[in-house]
Symmetry: C2
Subunit: 335 residues, 2 copies
């Protein structure tokens, strides 16, 4: 690690997490316990569920990924965190998430998602900042190797069980989007940038497709760490090994931009694995031993979950997750 | 005024406002500017609009009247007050009010409307307290003189233009409801109780129908002031004079329980009057000169509104309202 990567003496090191969804949630939840200056750069391309409805119905930016990061960084009471995580189960509100409604309503009343984030940040007393990667309303699209084009994050993310889908050839945004200047500044100022964990095509790459992001990543003196996925994701990284993850990532971030690849060495719960296997999803095979130019850090990063069958059914495929504390500890070692 | 009514030296006088809706909003907005200890006792029988939907869909208590009182008592930024007043205009959320969603979601996550009020009160930094008159899920019903029974506040409140409706014979709750002990304590401890302003049958009387409320009103040493309506309300007080308001009120509160009747002497805007007249609603005629036992205070209480035709169309019949400052000033004179 070059000296320039070292945080300035006396100032807390600046860590930026790039991603979205539950992966960023885990990383931020763990890292917030350390004396670091924490930022979350989040994808703004969500088009499904509660976020998708709010996008369509209110004409706002999708709030879901922002909300998860805000809750992860919250130091307020469990009650407030529960409130912001609450999902309505009945009637017209069914499927809507309260935190999403809060952010979107504030965006409507203030006219700005930045002000909305700032206000919710105060209420949740967040320790850190949440930075949308762009303010442009745009959709994530992928072209498959069979020529088919899929438009919209949710259509890329959700594949019906065992419906065949060709490998992804390339991802792009429609329309093109320029970066939020604050996101670029965060990247340039950081001491360490954690890319992931998160679904490769729906949480990580959307950030890299935003104009300005990859050049900032090339320019910054921050140490760039990629947190490898624990499991393959059916329809976007079906049967991918770790190397295939890196190859796809390099198409967007460029070669030799990363410094470290952080990969799990722990073994997931057997029952949970059966559940995943039913969706043709498996642990990502570690074939990084021949990968040059990057440091490879292997350590157990899996969250131990004690569960019943009913828990598995409820949590579905998100049950094998990064452990916030193990992940944060591994990241802090790299500073 | 008996000496016992006088506030204790050095302590701010305790004022309780009984009602709901826009009338309580006006009273609280004006009174919060004075050094008084302010409480709002609010009706919990709303069954229409956003509150009604939340009642049905989430199984919560109706939040609408509570929300209006919380916003009235708020000392937080305009932004937060705007947020809590925001009404969705599109999609599945159409007609829902954000503040209502907030209260109902908190009630779901905490299991208690009291905790929900307390949390929202902190966020809105309220100066005072908001006290639901009951926690019982109950409906307001009226029996008309033609024997017809109407169940549900919204069906009593909303009458189609010029649809004939017989005079109300009596109001009752179904099922019966006992008072929130905090509401009774507030009544007993108050130095002055302002009943109204508000629609007689849908904002005032529902509070008096709750078991324990009228006995507390008879027992308290507080000065009891009734703020007379400015306009008649089609379908509940059609063509009522001021005396008819008092007679109906006395059926529930009892005779000689009130101390003061506060009645407007100002003249509403002519254009607005035409609009109201189209709904067969007129200024309440002051025929209180023969009313014994109560002090009658007459003063201008009307809010001056400069408006265009479009404004009238938008605001509809709520455009002729009590002026918060004039109302509060008149109430403070009575302490």
């Amino acid at each position: 690690m070059a000296n320039s990567n070292l945080p300035k003496k006396g100032k807390p090191p600046k860590i930026a997490v790039i991603g979205g969804g539950t992966g960023s949630f885990a990383a931020l939840s763990g890292l917030k316990k350390y004396p670091v200056s924490l930022s979350a750069i989040v994808t703004m391309m969500d088009s499904g569920g509660s976020s998708g409805k709010l996008r369509n119905e209110l004409g706002v930016l999708p709030p879901g990924d922002i909300r998860q990061c805000l809750i992860a960084l919250s130091t307020s009471s469990k009650l407030m965190r529960d409130l912001f995580s609450y999902r309505f189960e009945n009637g017209n509100l069914k499927g809507h998430n309260f935190g999403n409604l809060f952010l979107s309503t504030l965006e409507k009343t203030t006219g700005s998602i930045e002000k909305a984030i700032s206000e919710v940040g105060k209420i949740l007393r967040i320790n850190g900042q949440v930075v949308p990667v762009t303010f442009k309303k745009t959709d994530l699209c992928v072209e498959l190797v069979d020529g088919k084009i899929i438009i919209g994050e949710t259509h890329i993310d959700e594949v019906e069980k065992k419906v065949e889908r060709a490998r992804i050839k390339k991802a792009f945004l429609k329309p093109e989007a320029s970066a939020n200047p604050a996101a670029l500044k965060t990247i340039l100022d950081a001491d360490l940038i954690l890319i992931g964990p998160g679904d490769l095509y729906t949480s990580i790459i959307p950030n890299l497709l935003v104009k300005g992001v990859t050049s900032a990543l090339k320019k910054t003196k921050a140490k760039k760490v990629y947190a490898m996925n624990l499991m393959t994701k059916y329809g976007q990284t079906t049967h991918y090994t770790a190397l295939e993850h890196i190859f796809d990532l390099e198409k967007y971030i460029g070669k030799n931009v990363l410094d470290v690849v952080l990969i799990n060495s722990g073994t997931p719960n057997k029952k949970a694995l059966e559940w995943y296997d039913d969706f043709d999803e498996q642990p990502v095979k570690n074939d990084l031993k021949n990968l040059k130019n990057y440091s490879i850090v292997q350590t157990s990063l899996i969250k131990n979950i004690h569960f019943e069958k009913s828990t598995v059914d409820k949590l579905k495929r998100s049950i094998i997750r990064h452990d916030p504390d193990k992940l944060a500890s591994a990241v802090m070692e790299l500073l």
